[in-house]
Amino acid sequence: MTVPIFEVRDVTYRYHEVTALDGLNLTIMRGERVALLGANGSGKSTLLRVLDGLCFPEKGNVAFQGEPLTQNRLGGEVEFDFRRRVALVFQNPDVQLFNPTVFDEVAFGPLQLQWPKEQIRDRVNEILQQMEIAHLKERSPHHLSMGEKKRVALASVLILDPEVLLLDEPTAALDPKSESQMIDFLVGCSGGQKTVVTATHDLDLVEDIADTCHVFQRGRIVAAGAPSEILNDQALLLGTNLIHAHRHSHADGEFHSHPHRHDRGH
């Protein structure tokens, strides 16, 4: 029987008095592309941090490939192995780009994992070429556009060739061109051995980047299924603040209000 890559059982996590995750249950299989959908504050980012071993639940269990993911277990060689295999791309790239130059940023992960220096130099140059950001090598992060920052953030984790990619709102604040490049990359991850978990409230991406969706509301999963199933359930999307119902007009000039998305020939 195949062991799931992540297994989350009855997980609860609180930030002081705010419950971010409330008895959550979730299973992610190897190679699966999962979208975590939900409005702001629904618990998606917190779950990604829990899956990345950055915070640990006060109740419940998390397992990575059948092994418990706990603070005690993550240390020394076990942590090195985990960090190489699981990578998180943060929503705010300024948090993730903490080195003075792009080169230093991309080299950070391999340096921490104590790869040989020549190998790191070669691999950094290679990944910069692949991501089409070689011209940014000596630039400081404060000289980069948002799209460039996101690509550098992605390069800084892809250099380790992780098995699992956790992406927190990867297309947030991107212009249309940068967004389409990001989507192309996420689509390119399909069919491979990489497990990709994307937290987003952008419904336009979901059908392209995910095989399974989990809809979050107040720290719980309220629905799960294939993208087509979830995206056609208007009552669910409206109830979880994933779509809206503001006043607008169609070609006839009449103003009215009903649930809708802006992408669907409306």
């Binding site: 960090r83 943060f90 948090v95 903490f98 080195n99 992960g109 921490q112 790191i120 400081s140 404060h142």
Partner: protein, 277 residues
């Protein structure tokens, strides 16, 4: 802008101006470091090994002409490195002259020796020995400062930090200073945005007490944001394997030009030391 209007928004206007000025200074320095000049071409380790001895010798030399020659060489190197002399004058020479001039002013009158001039009205006597002492101090400061500023202006800050490892600067200090440099800009921008937002909602004058309250509140908000940011950055570092040890990697490569320049500077330093002792 009239003086009244300048005073009316005091801390907000002045803060915005200083944030913009700080950013402009830094971007200008980064542009200089990318130019195609003599110093910019050198390996940063060679730059440090070549320039630091010259700074020390300029500070210790006992012959004025030796210091003057070193200063002239520094000016020549600045020109060959495409550093405008106006920039050097504004950033280095004027400030150093004023500061060291003020410090050495008493020496003109208090150093015993041959009188060469008497100040009218006050009757204070300027001695030749006093003038000589003041000139030495100013020349040493100007020359050392010129070399130091050239070293900083003609090298990307991150490369300079890594290159200081040749002097056994601890890695943790290199990494900390690098991250400080990185996040200063983010915090400057945050502060700029905060003050711009405040300015866009202000009508009329802020009195002194309100200005102080505005400044204090802004400092508090920035500290709070900084603490939040530092926690998130630490998480991001842990996420990529950070366990307390830091490492740096450079791509420095020395070539024939570096060795030639290093040999030239070592020769110059040796001659300056010999003739300046």
């Amino acid at each position: 802008m009239t003086r009244a209007r300048k005073n009316s928004q005091g801390v907000v206007e002045r803060s915005l101006a200083s944030f913009v000025s700080a950013l402009e200074h830094t971007f200008y320095a980064e542009e200089l470091a990318k130019k195609n000049g003599v110093l910019q071409k050198l390996d940063p380790r060679v730059k440090i090994a070549a320039i630091l001895p010259l700074i020390v010798i300029a500070a210790l030399a006992r012959r004025l002409w030796v210091i003057a020659v070193l200063f002239a060489i520094a000016v020549g190197v600045a020109m060959l490195s495409n550093v405008p002399l106006g920039t050097m004058a504004k950033r280095v020479w004027l400030g150093v002259f004023t500061f060291t001039g003020l410090i050495s002013l008493p020496a003109l009158f208090l150093t015993p020796g041959q009188a060469i001039y008497t100040l009218p009205l006050l009757g204070w006597i300027v001695t030749a020995q006093g003038l000589r002492a003041a000139t030495y101090l100013i020349m040493r400061a100007e020359t050392a400062a010129t070399f130091s500023v050239l070293l900083v202006l003609c090298s990307p800050w991150s490369n300079l930090l890594k290159a200081f490892r040749v002097l056994r600067l601890p890695i943790v200090l290199v990494v900390m200073l690098g991250m400080t440099y990185r996040y200063i800009f983010l915090l400057l921008r945050n502060a700029h945005d905060m003050f711009t937002s405040r300015k866009s909602r202000m009508v009329g004058r802020l009195d002194g007490r309100e200005q102080r309250r505005a400044a204090t509140a802004s400092a508090g908000v920035l500290i709070s944001k900084t603490l939040q940011l530092s926690g998130d950055v630490y998480s991001a570092m842990r996420s990529r394997g950070f366990q307390g040890e830091v490492y740096v990697l450079d791509e420095f490569r020395t070539g024939w030009f570096d060795w030639v320049m290093l040999a030239a500077c070592v020769t110059l330093a040796t001659l300056a030391f010999w003739f300046g002792r």
